[in-house]
């Protein structure tokens, strides 16, 4: 039996303390590098991210307000009423997505207890991945109510009333596109899914979601005695 095979955790404390002493003197990681320019860079990066989230919230508010007034003034035109409501819901979802981003960016209190903050971060990450995925998929359908609403708003042309077949074709394209994407994401052969993942996003394989869930499971198990 070697010296190491009888090693106990407490024996390792001493080795750790010696590493600690050496690390204290190590010049490779120099905290003096934390200069004003580094802080300015960090602030600028955060500002851009915040600006993106704020822009998303602002666009969401505009879409929500516009669509609320649109569908309420088209109560007797079912296609336009439904289109307005669908886009209204999308606007609200944009606001929620933007607020979630803001929470991730500015409300993450790293001074909180580890289990609390990690759980919060994992939940937000999970929520963000899910919403991102559904926002992406929804585009296959959303362009149809978008087209109907804009045609009516800009030139007063009710496409559904004049050519329901065209709207039907639009819907068919949207549904085929949506189903094809879902097939590629979930049901296609694994090799193809991987290639699609490279093109679209790693989200498509669901691996990010699984990781977020694994983090939550790990935290839950850590909290238990």
């Amino acid at each position: 039996m070697t010296m190491e095979s009888t090693m106990e955790l407490d024996d390792l404390k001493q080795a750790w303390q010696s590493l600690d002493r050496q690390l204290q003197q190590q010049k490779r990681i120099n905290l003096q590098l934390l200069t004003e320019s580094r802080m300015r860079k960090a602030k600028a990066g955060l500002r851009w991210l915040q600006a993106g989230a704020i822009a998303q919230i602002a666009i969401g508010v505009v879409v929500t307000v516009f669509c609320a007034s649109f569908w309420s003034s088209h109560m007797h035109q079912p296609a336009l009423l439904l289109s307005g409501i669908v886009l209204h819901v999308y606007g609200v979802a944009m606001i929620i997505g933007g607020v979630t981003e803001m929470l991730l960016l500015v409300r993450t209190d790293y001074a909180a207890q580890i289990v609390t903050i990690q759980k919060y971060l994992a939940l937000l990450r999970q929520w963000r991945i899910r919403t991102k995925r559904w926002f992406g998929l929804a585009q296959w359908i959303l362009w149809i109510p978008g087209t109907l609403v804009m045609l009516e708003y800009l030139i007063g042309f009710d496409l559904w009333a004049h050519s329901p077949a065209t709207v039907g074709w639009f819907l068919a394209v949207g549904i085929i596109g949506l189903l094809s994407t879902l097939w590629l994401m979930y049901w296609s052969p694994r090799a193809m899914r991987r290639r699609v993942g490279d093109y679209i996003d790693d989200n498509s394989t669901g691996s990010l979601l699984r990781r977020a869930q694994a983090s939550l499971d790990e935290i839950a198990s850590f909290e238990r005695d």
Binding site: E4, M7, S18, L34, L46, A111, A112, Q113, T116, Q118
Partner: protein, 176 residues
């Protein structure tokens, strides 16, 4: 971030002094949660930036090291879980463990112990890794519970399990 911009020169000095005094915490956490040298530097810098951001909210009635550990570990765990860094972590970087032991200028036995310890740390989940770091740093059970957000009895149980895990790890073939 805005709050830190309004700090006075005295605040900055106080923060700088405390950071300097406790910088070992930043280095140890950065080393435990990253292997590649560039990741270690990035993580140490990120921890320092987050400490700076959180500094205006620091309550001087509480221990600075406890506050610092919470931030450093939270940032490190998030860093480890972030997608970009995870890809780099997916590659085993065993040589950096050896580098660390060699860099430390420790004697042969200590270097061997450090290698075992770092191999063991690399097998731990992020939260257990945090617990181990606090334990190795001889923090009290109460302080560990406070940093982690679990009960003191849970800390005791988990430390016992860690002790058993390292025994098993050392006894496993290839880890001597």
């Amino acid at each position: 971030m805005q709050a830190s911009a309004t700090m006075t020169a005295d605040d900055r000095q106080a923060f700088g002094d405390l950071l300097q005094q406790h910088r070992g915490i930043v280095f140890k956490v950065a080393n435990a949660y990253s292997r590649a040298a560039e990741d270690r530097d990035d993580l140490a810098q990120e921890i320092a930036v987050q400490l700076w951001r959180a500094w205006p909210g620091y309550d001087p009635a509480r221990r600075f090291s406890t506050w610092m550990y919470r931030i450093a570990l939270n940032v490190a765990i998030s860093f480890l879980r972030s997608d970009g860094h995870r890809r780099r972590h997916a590659v085993p970087l065993d040589e950096s463990i050896h580098d660390m032991a060699d860099d430390s200028g420790a004697d042969h036995e200590t270097a061997a112990q450090l290698r075992v310890l770092h191999r063991f740390i690399a097998t731990l989940e992020p939260l257990n890794r945090a617990l181990l770091l606090l334990y190795l740093d001889e923090r009290s059970t109460r302080e560990m519970a406070e940093v982690l957000g679990i009960s003191e009895s849970n800390v005791t149980t988990k430390v016992s399990r860690l002790k058993q895990r390292i025994r098993d790890h050392v006894a496993a073939p290839g880890n001597e």
